[in-house]
Point group: C2
Chain length 274, copies 2
């Protein structure tokens, strides 16, 4: 049996009781470590579970499924993923590959940012399409997510922006070499995301195209579900200057606000002094 077990968002104790039982008895337990991170690391998880975890990075998941699935017809193999198992395309693809190999699979669900974002008080049924904001590099500044934010906004809907995570990205120089070298991991902050969006607004200002106001209310969330969760609501222009601390961050661009939503947001409006 191949299990994909969601760990939730906060710390080691956010795993479900069902998930923990499987982790404790499984023959082998992998920890997926590139689509998201918890606020605690591998060691905290290992000490809570009382067993060793094998790190499964991108190369392993994408290229070594024969190792990952080895013996899964007779044994219990578990893959732990932060959030919910189906939050990333990678995991859907993996489940499909298991199925095609005739390996039985089970999924243990958990919270993901897509529902936990409700912690900021915005109603989940009023969110439109979710977007991802990638880190820009020189000459590569994709902004298709901006049109989706506008499309949601025009219908009064909020937009959840998932912010780029770059873990174990090979350096450009090492791509053609036998031994890959990796860039240090980086996680886009709400401030970085706000700055990129403000740049797009500036570029569009010269044209007659629909645009976003720099004063649009947005909500930055950091380390949702953990003891050190932080939420900040303010205009987009201010978000660029606010530091919400360690990763992971997500950003919401508000659509039309219901009075209940506005009242809920009030508790997150104090700008931390720097």
């Amino acid at each position: 049996m191949f299990y994909v077990i969601g760990l939730g968002l906060g710390d080691a104790k956010d795993i479900s009781v069902k998930g923990l039982e499987i982790v404790k008895r499984a023959d082998k337990v992998y920890l997926e470590a590139y689509t998201s991170i918890l606020s605690v690391g591998q060691q905290a998880l290992e000490s809570f579970y009382g067993r060793e975890l094998v790190i499964a990075d991108r190369d392993f998941i994408e290229q070594q499924t024969d190792v990952l699935f080895d013996g899964a017809n007779e044994k219990e193999i578990a893959l732990l993923v932060v959030g919910d198992p189906f939050g990333a395309t990678t995991h859907t693809d993996l489940v499909l590959r298991a199925k095609n190999l005739g390996i039985p699979y089970k999924v243990i669900h958990n919270a993901s940012i897509l529902n936990a974002i409700g912690c900021c008080g915005l109603q989940l049924y009023k969110f439109g399409e979710t977007v991802s904001i990638p880190y820009w590099t020189q000459g590569w500044e994709p902004d298709s997510f901006f049109e989706k934010i506008l499309s949601n906004k025009s219908r009064g809907l909020h937009t959840l922006c998932l912010l780029d995570i770059q873990v174990k990205e090979p350096t450009l120089e090492s791509l053609t070499k036998k031994v890959k070298q990796y860039l240090p991991p980086r996680f886009m902050s709400t401030s970085e995301a706000a700055k990129q969006i403000l740049q797009i607004i500036d570029k569009k200002e010269a044209s007659a195209e629909p645009n976003l106001e720099k004063s649009v209310i947005c909500i930055g969330v950091a380390r949702v579900g953990s003891e050190c969760q932080q939420i900040q609501a303010c205009p987009l222009s201010e978000m660029a200057n606010i530091d919400l601390g360690p990763p992971l961050h997500s950003l919401v661009i508000a659509g039309d606000l219901h009075p209940l939503e506005t009242e809920f947001l009030e508790q997150f409006q104090t700008i931390p002094s720097s």
Copy 2:
């Protein structure tokens, strides 16, 4: 401290380890019993937790918060809700009322249908606005959700349809009486939802307005996350005749399908023989 603890979707063991610790030590534990249901009932939860639960129905949550919050400044009061705490407006409102009374609160997240729907293989970032389909009564047949499905579909997005739950609905006759009488609980099935949508399509066919094809691919899911989870993918017209068994059900109207999504759906296309 006032805790709102998500129970997830399947059974008693879908609670998180963190949530279970609080349930075991809290001074009083309420079970919210009208916005959703688990595939197991109160007794199974009580026997798993080893303690008594107090049922909190709609009247209680909406009108007796003074009882619910009684002593929450010194004691630990927990409210258990199916799915994630912020899945229903009721719970956001409740947290806000706690905050306004100066009662500290904490939220323990869990899976909700909004992310667990990924189990059907459709990618979560390709879902548009979520809609709710209400039971129609004579002379009251709201169909504003249909426009939202069309709006999502026109942009290639999937639509998650949450289906009506009627628990402890007072009978029309008893509304003016002192002693309320209640209708038996009912939970809309994917078949009932499909029939209502087909009726709307029929009505629109005479007009030149945009419409949905009856052959649109939809995915019915039942009891997601439980051992008896069932998923069915088929044209909308066929969904009307398929029985997915006991509640809860949800329905997805597919937008544009990526080859990976189509391949994933194949495993759910066998129509059960009746």
